[in-house]
Amino acid sequence: MKKTTIICAVLAALCAAGIGPAAAQDKAPIKIGTALDFTTVYTFVTAEYSQGQRDYAALVNARGGILGHPIEIDVVDTGNQPQRGIAAYERFKDEGAVLCDFLSTPVSRAVVPRALADGMNVMTLFHGRSDAADGKVFPTIFPMTPAYWSQATAIIKYIDDQEKGDLKGKKIALVMIDSPFGREPLPVFQELAKRLGYEFQSFPYPSPGNEQSAAWTQVRRFKPDWTILWGAGGGQSVSVRDAIGNGIAPDRVASVIWISETDTNIIGADQTKGLLRFEGVAYGKDVPAIKAIEEQVIAKGKGAGPAEKVGGTYYNIGAASIALVAEGARIALGKEGEPLTAAKLKNGLESIKDFTGEGLLPPVTITADDHQGGGRGRIDAWDGSKWVAKNQWAAAYQDIVWDLIHKSAEEFKASGK
């Protein structure tokens, strides 16, 4: 009998848990569904990113919400499995979410066809399909940040500036993971090699990148003037370590956005001094938005995670993502009134103009055509304890980027026919 009672009690608790707590709010919450990969591949970024998202939402709510509506973020783990992402997506849709986030290229790719058919907004900051920047073909997919192609152009622009506009005869090596993600920037580097006259060669290493020595011995033979890293996760610190081991100075190595203070500290904060990377969202605590979070959220003990992560690279990216959504929702509610629907939020996001998120972002302007938001970014360098910006927010060679975006988007459109 006792056993039955316990089982009944557990079942009752589970049922109650399923119903969930009823939040007492004045106005309906704006629901954002985030199905992230906390456990498998994207572990290097997810925890911090999600913490940043929830802290920024707490900041918005502490300030009284968006025209009275609080932001509510639902967080669930997908383990990077598309089918779990799809299950989460369908649940978010049922629960009335107006925007979803998956922070995983395989999962967001799997969800894109559904989201397009359902008119659900999906934000894909710094991941997912680069061609989703084409708002005509992908009306409800919002990268809102520089596509990988724009990151590639920004890095070359910085190198070009350092070489005083003369890249003729210079050697640039791309060391990248051998996957679609790693091969993605190749056309940009090849096209720019034609324009600027540098010698370009790519050195792929096998996924997941724990072992790259074969690629790096070839790089060493190539004797590059500049080396560009294109990877993510654990492979990145291996790349930097191998670069240093092969006598390449860190201040001549520039990486795609996915490298952070965690990686440099793993390799050695001092050895990596000078390492360059693309920065799409301002780093550090010296940003008005992050200061506000520290005062109004962290100081009151409402932070969603460890306080030492606040202001980190991926934390700030998470915060910026919610800042953009909050801005879009504010415009949508102001213009089109209540209740906020996915379609209204889409229009709101497409009306964002010169938005900087209190210092978090470069001026972002999103239009119905351009979901990339302008493609502005900058290069920063590791100084041994923090990342320091080396130039101003700017976009470079956007003509090449948009050629690629249109071409790829057209291919996508044609494939669905």
Binding site: A13, A17, P21, R129, P180, G416
Partner: protein, 357 residues
């Protein structure tokens, strides 16, 4: 009491060899079939599209793998690659204008042809060595798909599934897609149910138990090993195509990577070797348990007001899931199918437990 055996007399060979000689079993199957048919009208869309639909497709795939692992006793660690060939093959064929019904079968043939090549390895090696050579297939196919843009579909490596028709009916909504998947699943299930009572199935069993003993009694192990690989790859290709068209609606290489192969093997082992119902139960556990556990842990943490970090909350289901699989295999090494069988045997004689069947 529940499974009444009284009055069942096998008066003809046909009756004796029926799939379900006990009437209750037939009723059970009929009820399940009816439930499956009305599900789209009863179940909320969420459960239909994100639980039931992937479950029946994955069960189809698990059945195909079970033919090879359970019936023929050959391990395969590259089953996701087999599915990928079927999926990509079918999508490219439909895009080229081939009707869906034919494309999916041709996709299956393509998988079968390539799967057969790797089946030759099984003639030479066994057990762990075969596992490694099929693993090589997984890596090779992965590499080729992601490196040949003509297959993967350009730099973003995604191909959308084109709109398609089945027998002239456009398949546009979730309900229609579910019925397509269900039809394929039922056909494969019917085939698998019957494998056990054909000479083919008995030959596979003979090869599984001891291949040279099979040769001694006149079963050609070469032929049947290759046939097993051929059939299983064909079913895998079809399941892959259905997965791409009815569930993902797009294909990317990551949908068919090594993890997926391991999951498929887990479905077969946890479900039960050489068991049809085991393939369904195994697919349910491996596919749905992580999602359900995740939602439960999340809801519990909310309800109890635990302030755990999202990191911790998302790792608890993993621990539970691992424990669940170890637990099932410890309690019943023959898989979930055996658990079901034990239950059935219990009720077969209930309430007269002393009566041995």
């Amino acid at each position: 009491m529940f499974y009444r055996l009284a009055g069942i007399r096998h008066t003809s060979y046909t009756a004796d060899r029926a799939l379900w000689p006990v009437p209750v079993d037939r009723v059970q199957i009929a009820v399940l079939l009816l439930l499956a048919l009305v599900a789209p009208f009863v179940l909320p869309n969420l459960y239909l599209t994100s639980y039931l639909l992937p479950w029946i497709i994955w069960s189809t795939a698990a059945l195909g793998l079970n033919l090879l692992m359970g019936w023929a006793g050959q391990i395969h660690l590259g089953y996701a690659a087999v599915m990928a060939i079927g999926a990509y093959g079918a999508i490219h064929l439909v895009r080229a204008g081939v009707p869906f019904e034919i494309a999916i079968i041709l996709g299956g043939f393509l998988s079968a042809a390539i799967g057969l090549v790797f089946g030759f390895a099984a003639l030479r090696v066994k057990g762990l060595y075969l596992a490694i050579s099929t693993l090589a297939m997984q890596y090779l196919v992965d590499w080729i798909i992601s490196h040949v843009e003509a297959i993967s579909g350009g730099s973003q490596a995604t191909l959308q599934a084109p709109a398609f028709r089945v027998f002239g009916i456009p398949i546009a909504d979730d309900r229609a897609r579910y019925y397509v998947a269900l039809a394929v699943c039922l056909m494969v299930t019917a085939f698998m149910l019957n494998v056990g009572r054909t000479s083919f199935g008995r030959a596979l069993a003979a090869v599984r138990e001891k291949d040279f003993a099979a040769a001694v009694i006149g079963v050609n192990p070469y032929r049947f090993k290759l046939l097993a690989f051929w059939c299983s790859s064909f079913l895998g290709g079809i399941a892959g195509a259905v997965l791409a068209f009815c569930y993902y609606r797009a294909v990317t290489p990551e949908q068919f990577d090594l993890d997926v192969s391991i999951q498929a093997v887990a479905m077969v082992i946890v479900g039960g070797m050489a068991s049809v119902i085991g393939s369904f139960l195994g697919a349910a556990l491996v596919l749905l348990a992580p999602i359900v556990l995740n939602n439960l842990v999340d809801a519990l943490a909310h309800a109890l007001g635990l302030s755990l970090s999202a990191d911790v909350i998302s790792h608890i289901p993993l621990i539970l899931y691992g424990g669940l699989i170890i637990g099932f295999l410890l309690i019943e090494p023959l898989g979930l199918a055996k658990v079901y069988d034990n239950l059935r045997n219990y009720f077969l004689v209930w309430p007269f437990r002393h009566a041995r069947r």
